[in-house]
């Protein structure tokens, strides 16, 4: 169920902490993207 290398990443639109809507497709043909999921704010390792 975890997505795999070689698959196309699904697009999404989420609001950032700055209040902007960010879409993965914003970066298509422009930049590589590192998506870093983290469990919760305020819980450093």
């Amino acid at each position: 169920m975890i997505l795999k290398v070689g698959q196309v990443a699904p697009d999404f639109a989420l609001k950032s902490h700055n209040g902007q809507i960010v879409r993965l497709s914003d970066y298509r043909d422009k930049l590589s993207v590192v998506m870093a999921f983290f469990p919760l704010a305020w819980t450093p390792v």
Binding site: M1, I2, L3, K4, V5, G6, Q7, V8, A9, P10, D11, F12, L14, K15, S16, H17, N18, G19, Q20, V22, L24, S25, Y27, R28, D29, K30, L31, S32, V33, V34, M35, A36, F37, F38, P39, L40, A41, W42, V45
Partner: protein, 189 residues
């Protein structure tokens, strides 16, 4: 920097904003996957049953294709060196700017027409070796139980698992001994 970092969590935007302020600001967007709860985490397969996401990294190239996946132990920091090496393969300039002092790869992967990632005890690896010998195909073998940098590469290809055998046929990765797919790839050499 030619690589965009996005942080994602199921926290609300207010919470993320407050946290960013407490850290003195962050240089990349923190995205709120709050409503619908964890929908994007779910899309990527990393929403946990306790409602949080895993500590996971996906590297997406400019064509929108996933090139690296690391789902990490939730209580640990993921390995930055390996991440830099993957980014470096996609964006060499970014690797330098992020402070990787060596050229790009933490441990240079072997080059050759066929690289076989194995362990000494794995039965499918034995089958793979026998098959390649039968076909007269030469290859470089990497023992991932000893070469831990290679093990991390395999984890990046095999969704966090050290799956063997894993084949690198001139840059095309085949995880497990998928004979039909392998035969097709090897024929085109």
């Amino acid at each position: 920097m030619k690589t965009q970092v996005l942080g994602l969590s199921v926290d609300s935007r207010d919470c993320l904003r407050a946290w960013a302020e407490s850290l003195g600001g962050v240089t990349y967007p923190l995205l709120s996957d709050f409503y619908p709860h964890g929908r994007v985490a779910q899309l990527f397969g990393v929403l946990r049953s306790d409602g949080r996401s895993e500590r996971a990294i996906f590297v997406i190239d400019k064509n929108g294709v996933i090139r690296y996946v690391d789902v990490h132990d939730i209580d640990e920091q993921p390995d930055n060196e390996l991440l830099f090496s993957v980014i470096g393969e996609l964006e060499p300039e970014a690797a330098v700017r992020w402070g990787a002092t060596q050229p790009v790869v933490a441990s240079p992967p072997p080059t050759g027409d066929l690289v076989l990632y194995c362990t000494p005890w794995c039965p499918d690896c034995k089958r793979a070796r026998a098959y390649l010998a039968e076909k007269g195909i030469s290859y470089i073998e990497v023992d991932i139980s000893k070469d831990r940098a290679a093990a991390q590469r395999v984890r990046g290809w095999a969704n966090g698992n050290e799956t063997t055998p894993t084949f690198d046929v001139r840059g095309t990765i085949v995880v497990e001994f998928e004979r039909p797919r392998l035969e097709k790839l090897l024929q085109t050499r």
